[in-house]
Symmetry: C2
Subunit: 354 residues, 2 copies
């Protein structure tokens, strides 16, 4: 930190991305990436766009916004495309929270919410999950504040049913509820259908997981035609060309290739269920995940030890050294082969610790 | 604007990007893009990266940062790579300005400075350019505040010599001076050489103009190894994966292809000088530009009329409807052929208005 940094940011604790080690080749099950390459159509359109990089991108991201809206069953003016869903989440913290409107989110959730709140200098309350690590909608009802709920939640993978999301949204039309659906495509019902009914709902999503585009940075927000312009205003005040030409093209390609997308989501769900049943058989406990990751613990080995042991074996998973969840590791669901290797390695470890 | 937008942003006037019309094909001389495609090496590396989009980018942008540092003759810890230079400029407004440290910049300059200041809620003073539209270094000396100077300035194209930049930086080691070198490669001496001597200097640059990559969104900041971590801290609190895989790869390719870069800069300078002399011969007045654009006016036709007349003829230039410069139009320097068409069209207009 230099002597020039303003006081406001001197205590800021930035987000810590999952490790990306380069010293050896790992099976990467630590950042919830897809094990599948992006759609060939996405690759082709992105590659073709490389020639046209000398021209600015369309700041309105017109073509992609329209196709995304079609995919979601809404109008184009109800959608904003962003540089990853982190960007639309940051915009939402900026637009809808201030000293009089705090942010509310679970104590155990996507770690960036806390950072965004601190960055914007807005107060926030972390509402404890239940003992079973579930979100209780009633905790968010009857209190002021802008709500941020990841559904399914991370790193637990536990989803709320749509009716419960609706109950939170409907409980107070005077405040915004943001539903972060980064992992929705692996078996959770989306809240997008509610945006026609509630103007205080913002749903966010990403191409990073289910559409194999973590490396391209593409996300979106869906909300009423009154709400979206607030975010567009922030976008044009920070980063008008927020979606570059190649990413916009890749996004189009990914949306056009619906079959590949559906097929990949199905495979991830199958691999998740297979891995869950194998690990259960080995005595692991886990949350009822609907995401592309498992959140597991064992009474035979601590979360930290399991993380380190797998790392030695060439498999990266994520361990959070936080109260309440330090017993767990989060394991991204990869290809069937990756999951088989994982299960084999864990079996070997179990043998050793017998 | 929805009822949910916080008061702070309700009066925000977002940046207005140059128009990108789609109804007909124009010769685009309105957004200072390069007329040349990106280096083939950049295209190839970007296209190849499309396959690997399922993996997150390297948040430290390690390879590109190292090569950029080498290109600039500094160390990697003195460089931050960003999503366009708009991002590093925004970070600088966030990191180095607050209610006690206002932002200082010319009244006529890159229009985004005003927006960034408003976005961060920091006070700012716009210091009038001289009657000849030049920046007077003495206006920035002896007053508190973080200085933002585009060198060469936009939309005038006028550059300060390095000695004058140094005088501003040296005058007060207690405040940061940001030198925005978006257009430096077309004939201005860079201030990067000063960063070893002054820890209060931040130089920013972009791949949008001289490296034909406006559509990829790549910029950078260069400063002391104490200053850069402040910006990195903001990056990790907003957008850790700010440079996507394809853009990082294209950036590497562009840096590797130095010959193409040098050759394109030379051509733009030649085309600029040719166009300037043709327009002078037609009676136009213009600023002594060092950028990839001309800033011209005529006493025979108003800036607005010239803009509209050229638009009707299929050529887009930029007109700023602002006090002091509304007589001018800004014309991006394109290929020789584009410049010839421009000059011909203007000759025809001159004939008509005789």
């Amino acid at each position: 930190m230099s002597k020039f940094l303003i006081d406001k940011y001197s205590a800021l604790k930035p987000y810590t991305p999952g490790e990306q080690p380069r010293e050896r080749k790992y099976i990467k099950l630590n950042t919830n990436e897809s094990p599948f390459p992006p759609s060939r159509c996405a690759q082709r359109l992105a590659a073709r766009e490389a020639r046209r990089l000398y021209l600015y991108p369309d700041p309105n991201v017109t073509a992609l916004t329209s196709l995304m809206a079609e995919e979601l069953g809404v109008s184009a003016d109800e959608v904003i495309m962003t540089n990853g869903s982190d960007e639309v989440l940051n915009f939402a913290f900026m637009a809808f929270c201030d000293e009089n409107r705090e942010a509310l989110f679970p104590d155990i959730t996507y770690g960036f919410y806390r950072v965004f709140a601190a960055l914007s200098g807005v107060p926030y309350t972390e509402i404890p999950l239940g003992d079973d690590l579930t979100v209780s909608p009633d905790d968010y009802i009857g209190r002021r504040g802008t709500v941020f709920i990841a559904n399914p939640n991370a790193p637990t993978g536990i989803a709320l049913p749509l009716s419960e999301i609706e109950r939170i949204v409907a409980s107070d039309p005077g405040r915004v509820v943001v539903v972060d659906e980064a992992y929705v495509d692996f078996g959770t019902e989306s809240a997008v259908s509610l945006i026609k009914k509630y103007d205080n709902l913002l749903v966010t999503g990403t191409f990073s997981k289910s559409r194999s585009m973590a490396g391209a940075r593409l996300g979106y927000g869906v909300g009423s035609a009154e709400l979206i312009p607030d975010l567009v205003r922030i976008k044009y005040s920070t980063n008008p060309y927020n979606v570059n030409r190649m990413t916009a093209a890749a996004g189009l390609g990914a949306l056009l290739d619906r079959k590949y997308f559906k097929c990949n989501c199905k495979k991830i769900i199958e691999n998740r269920e297979w891995t869950a049943s194998e690990l259960s058989a080995l005595g692991f406990e886990m949350t009822p995940t609907r995401a592309n990751f498992l959140f597991v613990k064992s009474d035979k080995i601590s979360g930290k030890e399991l993380y380190l042991a797998l790392r030695r074996e060439g498999i990266l998973v994520r361990h959070f050294d936080s109260p309440r969840i330090s017993d767990y590791v989060r394991i991204t669901v990869g290809s069937k082969k990756q999951m088989q290797i994982l299960v084999d390695k864990i079996k070997n470890l179990s043998e050793m610790t017998k």
